[in-house]
Subunit: 352 residues, 2 copies
């Protein structure tokens, strides 16, 4: 049975990428060695990491004056590295509280200075993106989480603020056009639209580096990794390799603009089905709908059970909602084909 993987992450990647990755594990480009056994200082890997960097720059339109890094530790380590690097003792940092991930990021900043929320949607279990907030000009930075996987909300605006803007784009990077020039630092765990778990993408404005606020352990200092071009120590070789393959796939699809159109089509189809269905309701207000994670609820336990059973029978996996939100969550990342969404929609329509 064909599997339709609606998982929230690590998540589906293109089948072609799995095929190429498996080939590289057996024999990388015919060199007689596996991608898993080559040195990170070898020419073979140098080509891979440079190509991955260059694809990130090309696909996102990264302007001059930014560095592209592949680190480890996930977004969770970035939550600490950001204030460690950029929040001076007694300094202030603004956060937009749109859920667990921004809350966790703010919590780490408390060890280094004074973070605070400019706005929060906690009052409605984070089911909307706050509007009409103000970011004071005396903060070290303003931190946002552009897509909130658990609740299914997304920020599509590149905010105009007069302070350094930092964005956790773990779950929507490469899914839509962004204006990188508005940001001083963008970070993302690889394991949604970039590649497999184990690598963390950081795009940092070189000027911003000058604002480092204290003496920092070597591995946690962004400057270490900028100076050594992500090769200060052994990087996550395989995750970077598969990220490169996946970004090549994205480029071949027509890049971010083309995939954004497909992502809009997939999300619209599913949201429309939920809206029109008498037995399901969307969790999130329309103006905050995430295209990556569509969250919805069945009107009662009986519908829930019948729907889950039908999903199982049709190869639909990882559709249950996060424990903090309940209900269902269909993640529609770049690699999920429209045909999988159509299968889901038909299954939903069959529940009456």
């Amino acid at each position: 049975m064909k599997i339709h993987n609606f998982g929230a992450g690590p998540c589906i990647l293109p089948q072609e990428v799995f095929k190429q990755a498996a080939d590289g594990v057996l024999d990388l480009n015919g060199i007689g060695m596996s991608i898993l056994e080559i040195s990170h200082r070898s020419q073979d890997f140098d080509i891979i990491i440079k190509r991955a960097q260059s694809l990130v720059k090309e696909l996102l339109g990264v302007p001059e004056g930014y560095s592209v890094l592949f680190l480890q530790g996930g977004a969770s380590l970035q939550f600490s590295m950001i204030p460690m690097n950029f929040l001076p003792e007694n300094g202030k940092a603004a956060y937009l509280d749109t859920g667990v991930w921004s809350y966790k990021a703010m919590k780490e900043a408390k060890l280094f200075g004074n973070p605070f929320a400019v706005a929060s949607s906690k009052d409605k279990n984070y089911n909307y993106i706050p509007q009409n907030f103000e970011v004071p000009e005396d903060v070290a930075y303003f931190h946002i989480t552009t897509n909130n996987t658990i609740y299914g909300t997304e920020i599509f605006e590149d905010y105009d603020v007069n302070v350094p803007l930092i964005a956790d784009m773990s779950s929507d990077i490469f899914s839509r056009k962004i204006d990188v020039s508005k940001y001083d630092l963008i970070f993302a765990g690889a394991q949604k639209n970039m590649g497999p778990a184990g690598a963390t993408l950081v795009i940092i404005k070189d000027e911003f580096l000058e604002k480092r606020a204290r003496v920092i352990p070597t591995m946690l200092d962004y400057k270490t990794h900028v100076d050594k071009d992500s090769l200060f120590n052994t990087p996550p070789v395989f995750s970077i390799y598969v990220s490169m393959l996946n970004l090549e796939w994205l480029k071949a699809q027509g890049g971010v603009e083309a995939i954004e159109k497909k992502n809009i089509e997939k999300a619209n189809l599913l949201y429309k089905t939920i809206e029109e269905h008498p037995l399901f309701t969307p969790n999130v207000a329309e103006d905050s709908h995430s295209r990556m994670n569509v969250t919805f609820t069945a009107i009662n336990e009986d519908v829930e059970q019948r729907f889950l059973k039908a999903c199982q029978e049709n190869g639909i996996v990882a559709i249950k909602g996060h424990r903090d939100a309940g209900g269902f969550r269909a993640s529609l990342y770049n690699a999920l084909p429209l045909s999988s969404v159509k299968v889901l929609v038909e299954v939903m329509k069959g529940i009456q």
Copy 2:
């Protein structure tokens, strides 16, 4: 042409493991999904990480009261995490200075307290392991690097000291029997004898955790990862999967004791060849010989060039020494077969 990979790391792993890893990238155990697209919270991955932990415990004879963790960031991040967790401000920490890696570890500790070297082999470019040093009893811990890849030295003794013993075993873990009970913390980048780059093994005594010396960012606090069993955030799924496959392979070989015998045989053959050869000299005194990295030098430039050419013609790769040591380095990790060492020995004998 068959390749003989003598690289220092990331390095050779068994061919069977490459085959199994490639299969898992295409379809993990017939579930219809790739290892690269399953959730780290799925039952499929739960089985993998628990099996990897249990193999580490079994193969190394880890006693009760220790936790086995799979982290990210490599040994280099451990250099900072260790003093951040265990060296109080104004506290002292003892280091055995056996090369660049122990020196780098000591450097990071300076940000948190007062590290010092109990002994150093820097006077002879680290080509021996210091003997007859004393470790004062008022230090927070004593830190050693058991195998020094760059120079080719190795510590085979599990030191008896009256302070917590911490060991960086990145390049010799799983290559020989050790007495884990002598250590409070053992750490190792995966990319030699455990698996591919991207995972870091930590074996930590639970009692030692109580000695944490300050408030620590969540991701850098060992207790976070012990409490969440390495699943606080998304772990490096694929690196852990391949580590599990590789440790299964090691178990099937007869475990650490059996591989140690093979490693001794490989190292002895190569050291003997170097000793007896009129045109090559070993870099390291016999009592400090590493079994993992055999370093040697040609007596002149002409011999060096002829040897390199012969290596190339025979599929021998990654044999050049590290830039800090010069000459040659043959790394003989677990997965390197005796037959590859025999090819190297024959090539050396052919240089006259």
